[in-house]
Subunit: 68 residues, 6 copies
Amino acid sequence: MKLSARNVLKGRVRSVVKGQTTAHVKIELTGGAVITASITNEAVDDLNLREGDEASAVIKASDVIVAK
Amino acid sequence: MKLSARNVLKGRVRSVVKGQTTAHVKIELTGGAVITASITNEAVDDLNLREGDEASAVIKASDVIVAK
Amino acid sequence: MKLSARNVLKGRVRSVVKGQTTAHVKIELTGGAVITASITNEAVDDLNLREGDEASAVIKASDVIVAK
Amino acid sequence: MKLSARNVLKGRVRSVVKGQTTAHVKIELTGGAVITASITNEAVDDLNLREGDEASAVIKASDVIVAK
Amino acid sequence: MKLSARNVLKGRVRSVVKGQTTAHVKIELTGGAVITASITNEAVDDLNLREGDEASAVIKASDVIVAK
Amino acid sequence: MKLSARNVLKGRVRSVVKGQTTAHVKIELTGGAVITASITNEAVDDLNLREGDEASAVIKASDVIVAK
């Protein structure tokens, strides 16, 4: 499967914190940057996401703001 | 100014391509990954964005999808 | 590859219209509904998207508004 | 009221699960596909959303990723 | 029709600028602030949007970043 | 720091309600309109957001839907 999203950034899961319905997942990219994703608990279970897993952060180009 | 967005990724502008109303900007992060942002032409002019500029990609946690 | 996005809706590409930087793609879902996606021209080329292709619309739960 | 959002998909509420501040709502479209929306609890109360209600999923074209 | 989106801000259309596929619309809110929306040309035609029209800016709570 | 986001609306924090992982923040704009933002608890702590603070709501043009 290939995605139209321009940003598929490879890394490794550093933490998974579940709330009542929404979880926060931190992915450390190969370059060292850490990306926080807010996803459903259901998605965490469905992907069986755990610390140490290889995973990617997928982001649409239209969701990126540029700061200078 | 501090932002609630969890992801503020520092890098350098690699390219700026303007369309009629929307522009695509590529930012190379310190770690080597490249992020594409789709922003208005107006924003490109307003920030005076040019290849080589130091810039950051700002992304809300709720806009990040995790792939595994 | 599995995605945290809760909505992965299968269908078939009905049309692809490219602008200068941004393209609009219509996908007809199995049930008959048509979903419009606004993606980069670059993505259209990268996925080699054409009318008639099997494709899915991927949408994060946090991007869905409910109307009643 | 008419919306600029290109995607207004009609269906019926299948479930409403509230968290502490955020709720997940599943809408079954006429064609059979199920769409998950993550909205505020406040919105659930304001729309008085309940299982069985007729409701639509509203999605901007720029929030749709295409997978092939 | 009622929307789950927490932000429905009333105002008046100040300008509509169409690109090849994407248009930029400026809405002046009652309080004086101006909001820019990037929508499809198709939506502009569908709503017959013109300068001076009464219109609202609809924004999901999860799409708002807080700066301080 | 300057942002590509076209909408940076100044106001004052009216309320901050934390859930288990996600918080809802209401900002009253100078013109009187109130904007609700859904952000991470982590962001609330990081910005030390409290009722009465001066703060801005930052919104990308592509996240705004027009209703007429």
